[in-house]
Amino acid sequence: MAMNYPILTILIFLPLAGALALVPFWRRERWAKGIAMGCAVVELALAGRLLFAAAGLPAASGAPGGYFLWEDHVWIERFGIRYTLGMDGISLLMVALTAFITLLAMLVSWRGIRERVPLHYLMLLVMESGIMGVFLAQDLFLFYLFWEVMLIPMFFLIGIWGHGRRIYSAVKFFIYTMAGSLLMLLAIIGIYLIHGARGGNYTFALHDLIGTPLDPGTALWLFAAFLFAFAIKVPVFPLHTWLPDAHTDAPTAGSVILAGLLLKTGAYGLIRFGYPLFPTAAKAVTPLLLTLAVIGIVYGSWVAYAQEDMKRLVAYSSVGHMGFVALGIAVWSPVALSGAVLQMVNHGITTGALFALVGMLDERTDTREISAYGGLWGKVPLLAFFFLLFSMASAGLPGLNNFVGEFLILAGAFRVTPVAVVIAFVGIVLPLIYTVRLVQQLLFVEERRPLTLPDLSLREGAILAVLALTAVYLGVHPAPLLGLLKVSVALLTGGLP
């Protein structure tokens, strides 16, 4: 299948165009929703087409190894900035996830958002553009641009349509990530200047910059800046404090995107930029990152157990799950890295689904307190069934999707750091404890106060069914995804033992 049109550019800018097209429909909610949904569906179709065609695509000409789609144009010649987009297996999975989760986010907010509806969909579309750009950019400057663009709509999503201390959370989220990303910008300029001073070739092109000889001290500083920016997003343990606030106060769609996609951009950044650019510095930092990842796994699950607010519980469980991803990256072996990428996808799906479910409950009863519920199994069997399913998936039950990623990560890590793996195993058990507690309290305990709530509507059922199918499919048959990742992961890890 030859791609004779710039499909990557379309993937990025179609949502943006859709967002602009929403502006005239400022007062017409139905139209706005329709347009936004149309864009999201087209995006998903494009991503799906790529997903199925990818295995047969030849390597793109002029691209580094592993990339089967490549677009490269001069953008700002003065600085050697190019408009370079590329897609390899990792990018493809992330792009597909983005298209999928965005559509999901739109669907779950179909009824929940009642104020300023067009603006909400506009923000979701801009968000999609930004995230697509992050996953496709192969030029550091371009990457940074999208990285920042993705911040703005999330700020508004939390701040306008959130709950509780929404403004505090939105501003905290923004400043936190901004501080990190500005330091990364410095490091980007730093490596640009060092590379340029060496050979006279001033460029931001990622694949030209990879392999720039750096003295260890400088490399460490630059890598630290990258790590700081990405670790905030992932989030790695001591930098996670924005996450529970942002998640708890965000609207459902915001939480879904935050957990499903934004956290992935941090991990993706480490995989695509941080490690390849500074392999030696990364190796030097590995023990630290391993430690933090393991702490994150245990700590996230531990704190999750103590939560009374369902959304906060899921948020803290994300800290734990993303700790696994960080562990996989820190180990940097083919198996662990494949596991990390897979875990990113799986976590996006299960946590997205859990947030959607919590949102549905919240819409029905206006509370997210665990203790307010009970006996849902008898009352709303469908909802309860999906809740059980995704909780189990999140806890890493074999046969469901999360298990595969976690297993691969631990298997990969075992060869490098058995100690870390042993501790991380605690992180596998702990989720079981809090999940079982959650499920038991919600579904099976006798209800504490009478709640009348309807079961899933057709829309909700359809969303969850699709998610459930995906989760099960990925749980039992992850081989195609692993196949997609194989080349890229091998090429990436080739540099590091």
Binding site: I76, R78, L145, E148, V149, G159, I160, A179, I189
Partner: protein, 487 residues
């Protein structure tokens, strides 16, 4: 009887200044001879003058050297000054566009405003192209005197009076420093011509350690720091910016600041490269202080004009980072940044004008509550300007900041840039605050809506384009800026 030699005059070198002055004088007379309360025609006439002057600026671009020099080497209309002149004209044009609306609303539509803006612009131009300390001083005075009047233009408003008086007193004070510095420099080198100062310093190595010369440089730096509102010489800025009529605040923050930079850069980089070790240290300190003071105090401001005043101090600090770098990149960065800043700041002020009621009782951040719901399009554009001020991509503000910071990194000022970046992150907070009120709080009271004039729409649209387009395709302006550096 000795024979007189005709000095090399070359009026082409001051063409834009001449055009503006003539138009200003015509407007002055028209204003007194044509009776009536409607003064909008003056605005349109001055716009014509500005456009003609702009064409003259454009046609002077890349002119051969003999065409640039004038008045026996007192004036040099090189690309550097032309780029600045374009910035001045743009900010003057935008200020004119937003003025009529405001002046009618505030009932201080006297008509002298437009000639004064034009005179001020002519003064700025003279500052940018002056290659003699005297010419620079002359331009500065023409600019300053006009600005003193403009700051106190709303004479029935006590805050505007305060602004005018304060600006006058502190401006006169700073002019004293500047002039004293020029006098000392003249004393040390025996000339006021910038090129000759440089050659004198190059020939005589002892001059670099001559206290008279060094103190002359320092005092001039102090004088210019007042003009560009660099900390610790920024004290006048908040009161003046808050009190002055909003269009004039917009104008002051964009044009004259750029003019101060133009003269500052020329004096330090061309006349005193031998003192570079001294002045780059000085600028380092100034830049850090300016950024930090501006941003930190802006965090606690409630009045939006005052907040933008402090933000404008901080922005002068970012530009000083590029200046500290002392290389061509830094200068080009300042050029680019000043241009972007003119667009984003005047654009933001245009919206403040639209929101403000008579007498400006509602210029606090809280008064923007619900703006995003009531006026979605305007709020979105305001958000655009604020994001650009905060340096978010893809806006001109980001590219400009990127340029400045990378120039400083290139010269090895890593810590300076780190401080700049942290400041930049902190500054997000106060810009976000406005957005929080615009979008995330419920409206407290109705917005008092005047009929939007096409002029103010035009200014907002132009500013928005000027913020977005260089943010996405900066190449053309970057190339122009690159050709406009002093070497």
């Amino acid at each position: 009887m000795e024979t007189l030699v005709m000095p090399a005059i070359n009026f082409a070198a001051i063409m834009p200044e001449t055009i503006l002055s003539i138009v200003a004088m015509v407007l002055l007379l028209l204003n007194v001879f044509v009776p009536g309360e409607q003064k909008a025609y003056l605005a349109y006439l001055s716009l014509i003058g500005i456009v003609v002057a702009f064409f003259s600026v454009v046609s002077g671009w890349n002119a051969p050297l003999p065409m640039q020099e004038g008045f026996n080497g007192s004036v040099l209309q090189d690309n550097f000054s032309l780029f600045f002149k374009a910035i001045f004209l743009i900010s003057a044009g935008l200020a004119v566009l937003i003025s009529d609306h405001y002046m009618v609303k505030e009932e201080c539509n006297y008509g002298e405003l437009y000639p004064l803006i034009l005179f001020a612009t002519a003064g700025m131009m003279l500052m940018a192209s002056g290659t003699d300390l005297m010419t620079i001083f002359l331009g500065l005075e023409v600019l300053s005197v006009s600005l003193y009047v403009l700051a106190g233009y709303n004479r029935s408003n006590i805050k505007s009076n305060e602004a005018g008086l304060k600006y006058f007193l502190l401006g006169a004070f700073s002019t004293g420093f500047l002039l004293y510095g020029m006098a000392l420099t003249y004393g040390a080198t025996g000339t006021t011509k910038i090129a000759k100062i440089a050659s004198a310093a190059a020939l005589d190595a002892t001059l670099s350690s001559n206290p008279m010369f060094v103190v002359g440089m320092l005092l001039m730096a102090v004088g210019f720091s007042f003009k560009i509102a660099a900390a610790p010489f920024h004290m006048w800025t908040p009161d003046v910016y808050e009190g002055a009529p909003t269009p004039m605040t917009a104008f002051m923050s964009a044009g004259p600041k750029a003019a101060g930079f133009a003269a500052f850069i020329r004096v330090l980089m061309v006349a005193m490269p031998t003192l570079k070790a001294d002045w780059s240290d000085l600028l380092w300190i100034l830049a850090v202080l300016t950024m930090t003071v501006g941003n930190i105090i802006a965090l606690s401001q409630n009045n939006i004009k005052r907040m933008l005043a402090y933000s404008s101090i901080a922005h002068a600090g970012y530009a000083l980072v590029g200046f500290t770098a002392g290389n061509g990149e830094g200068t080009a960065g300042i050029l680019f940044y000043m241009l972007s800043y003119a667009f984003m700041n005047i654009g933001a002020f245009a919206i403040i004008i639209l929101v403000g009621k008579k007498g400006e009782p509602n210029n606090n951040v809280e008064d923007y509550a619900g703006f995003g719901v009531k006026h979605p399009v305007l709020a979105m554009i305001m958000a655009l300007f604020l994001f650009s001020l905060a340096g978010m991509p893809p806006t001109a503000g980001f590219v400009g900041k990127f340029y400045l910071f990378s120039a400083a990194l290139k010269s090895g000022y890593v810590w300076l840039v780190v401080i700049g970046v942290l400041n930049s992150a902190a500054s997000c907070y106060y810009y976000l605050r406005v957005m929080v009120y615009m979008y995330m709080k419920d409206p407290v009271e109705e917005f008092d809506w005047m009929k939007l004039s096409p002029a103010i729409w035009a200014s907002i649209a132009i500013s928005a384009v000027g913020v977005i387009v260089p943010g996405i395709v900066p190449s053309i302006i970057l190339q122009l800026a690159q050709k406009a550096i002093l070497l």
